[in-house]
């Protein structure tokens, strides 16, 4: 039972990372109708810059800020130079151009930082454990990640649903021409929104860095999972992103722990471990297939 609660928290923490990625990606898709494969590259940029700054003694918060700022800046430059030429193109062109961006960023990163993965430690003041459930000490950093994710999502919800900028964003998502005609500077709004999505990806990158090796290509693994999240949730929907991210985070984490155990019940251990591990890594894709078989446009389908 304690193990289960601990894994539940781990799943939640992974889900929160996915959520930060997914909310940026789904916003960008929802309002700009742009599919951005290079969103994972922004995650990677955040992780690299954050980890490097911290390794050079910037301290955790400055490092975090550096990672987020670097990702946001990269995102805005990307939007200004390339993306705005792609808004009116079809999705195929967007996929291809952003695929080119991935190649560029992955290679650029290995030119600057080398091919060896770099490691990042969680900050000292969060390196301990907290006993939120009696008898089960849980790493404080993971708790902080969960808390940050919830706070940021809350802020995002507030921003999109309660502020004037959020109103423009929602209006732009339903009718781009109309909001332009009403005198809103769309291209500026798009650049800022893109930068905001990039900042979220950078934040996710820095927060995920202590759990995984910071290396070239790290962005694509999470990008594909993010796709699964927003496909399940319904593209363009923040609520869908929340539901999808939690579902995928929990399924993936719990699946990896419990599926091999379950398989042992009726298979010899050697076979069960192999088959269980393989089933666990395929679990989220199976989940996606099942979800789509019933709801082809996601759980929370939006307009269009």
């Amino acid at each position: 039972m304690l193990l289960f609660l601990e894994q539940l928290l781990n799943g939640l923490q992974f889900g929160v990372t996915l959520l930060l990625m997914a909310s940026g990606l789904t916003l960008i898709f929802g309002i700009m109708n742009l599919i951005n494969l290079a969103h994972g590259s922004l995650f990677m940029v955040g992780a690299y810059v954050g980890a490097t700054a911290i390794a050079h003694g910037s301290g955790f918060f400055l490092g975090l800020l550096a990672g987020v700022a670097a990702a946001a800046l990269t995102g805005m430059v990307m939007e200004f130079v390339i993306m705005r030429r792609l808004y009116r193109r079809d999705h195929l062109d967007q996929v291809l151009a952003t695929f080119g961006l991935i190649l560029f960023f992955n290679e650029m990163v290995s030119i600057i930082w080398g091919r060896q993965p770099i490691a990042m430690d969680p900050p000292a003041f969060l390196s301990g454990t907290v006993e939120i459930i009696p008898g089960a000490p849980y790493p404080a950093f993971r708790l902080a990640v969960i808390a940050t994710g919830i706070l940021v999502t809350g802020f995002l919800y507030f921003l999109v649903m309660k502020t004037r900028i959020g109103m423009w964003i929602r209006a732009g998502a339903s009718n781009r021409e109309m909001i332009g005609a009403l005198g809103v500077n769309i291209s500026l709004l798009y650049t800022l929104l893109f930068g905001f999505g990039a900042a979220l990806a950078g934040l996710a990158g820095v927060m995920a860095a202590p759990f995984s090796a910071v290396q070239s290509g790290m962005g694509e693994n999470i990008l594909i999972l993010t796709f699964v999240v927003i496909v399940i949730g319904g593209i363009g929907s923040i609520r869908g992103a929340v539901a999808g991210a939690l579902l995928i985070g929990l399924t993936d984490t719990l699946g990896r722990v419990y599926i091999p155990d379950l398989m042992r019940l009726w298979l010899p251990p050697s076979v069960a471990d192999g088959a269980g591990a393989s089933l666990a890594s395929m679990m989220i894709y199976i989940l996606m297939a099942v979800a789509l078989a019933f709801r082809p446009r996601g759980l929370f389908q939006t307009h269009g």
Partner: protein, 323 residues
């Protein structure tokens, strides 16, 4: 059709320059072109942007790899069958298995369209990628060596020229059959579904049926190309199903010219030549390839074929070689 003359001339030219590696390299491009021509059928004509085509490529390759392994050590594969090394058994089977999974993936994915379809096909390819990574019985992440190339009576597939011309003949056949297919009634319906699905339905066609059939044909061709690449490199690994491989196949199609069938052949050659020449220049060649791709997408719509036909039908560097 200058491209076919060019491809036919590769072995003699390579021998003239005493550079047999050229044949190996062009052979790889020819095999990728087979898969890409098949992909063009669904992207270019059917409007189904599959970002998971490497799955079929890999499934075909693993079919050849797994059957070959059992044929080599005589162990039981399934129901007492010890695999096979016969190309006339293995290659059609690779196509059949790929088409079967194409049917399943297509049935689910084609319920959606647009960007959903792109992401779902990508996710399905990941599923198969992880399946083969954890398939420890057949090498898992390390991959599987093919002990013998497949056998065709009367042909020596280990001979560079023979294998090259065989792959070239298959490319010609695939290109020819698909060209006929898109001109046929079936092909017209598929194109019609891309343009206006509702109207096709009103005309009494079932769009899903036609799109699914096209998807399966494309998957089967991908499977065939996979079996060929397994023979070419005598090695099969999950890397063949990596998502970037799917991206590469799409790049080949777009680079060459979408919806032209001959374009992907140009695209495959262009990509591999670019790769080879950049690699000799820097190990970080992708840092150049990436921006080149972006420039192609932004400025050269229509790809190489569009560029060539737009430039007043100038003939392409005919008869020469680039190596």
């Amino acid at each position: 059709m200058a491209i076919f003359v060019l491809l036919a001339l590769v072995p003699p030219v390579a021998h003239a320059f005493d550079n047999a590696f050229l044949i190996t390299m062009f052979n790889r491009a020819v095999i990728y072109a087979v898969a890409a021509v098949g992909l063009d059928l669904i992207i270019g004509f059917g409007g189904m942007v599959s970002f998971g085509h490497a799955a079929f490529f890999g499934i075909g390759a693993y079919t050849a790899g797994i059957l070959g392994t059992h044929a080599f050590d005589g162990s039981d594969f399934i129901f007492g069958w010890t695999g096979s090394n016969d190309a006339f058994v293995v290659w059609p089977l690779a196509m059949l298995v790929a088409a079967f999974f194409g049917l399943i993936i297509g049935l689910i994915s084609l319920r959606t369209s647009g960007v959903y379809f792109i992401m779902i096909t990508l996710a399905f390819a990941q599923l198969f990628y992880f399946f083969f990574v954890s398939l420890s019985q057949y090498g898992g992440a390390d991959g599987l060596s093919l002990w013998d190339r497949n056998v065709i009576p009367g042909l020596d597939l280990y001979d560079r020229d023979t294998f090259y011309y065989l792959c070239f003949a298959i490319l010609l056949a695939v290109w020819f059959l698909l060209s006929r297919l898109v001109g046929s009634r079936f092909g017209r319906v598929v194109i019609g579904c891309k343009q206006n699905e509702r109207r096709m339905r009103a005309l009494g066609y079932d769009p899903l049926l036609y799109k699914l059939t096209a998807f399966c044909i494309s998957a089967a061709i991908g499977g065939l190309a996979g079996a060929l690449i397994a023979n070419h490199s005598e090695f099969v690994s999950p890397g063949l199903l990596h998502w970037s491989r799917s991206g590469e196949l799409m790049v080949i199609v777009i680079l060459g010219g979408l919806g032209t069938l001959v374009g992907p052949i140009y695209g495959a050659l262009a990509l591999f030549l670019m790769e080879e020449s950049l690699v000799s220049f820097t190990e970080h060649w992708q840092v150049i390839l990436g921006p080149v791709l972006i420039l192609v997408v932004v400025f050269f719509r229509g790809g190489i074929v569009g560029f060539l036909s737009g430039a007043g039908k100038t003939t392409v560097k005919s008869g020469g070689d680039h190596g």
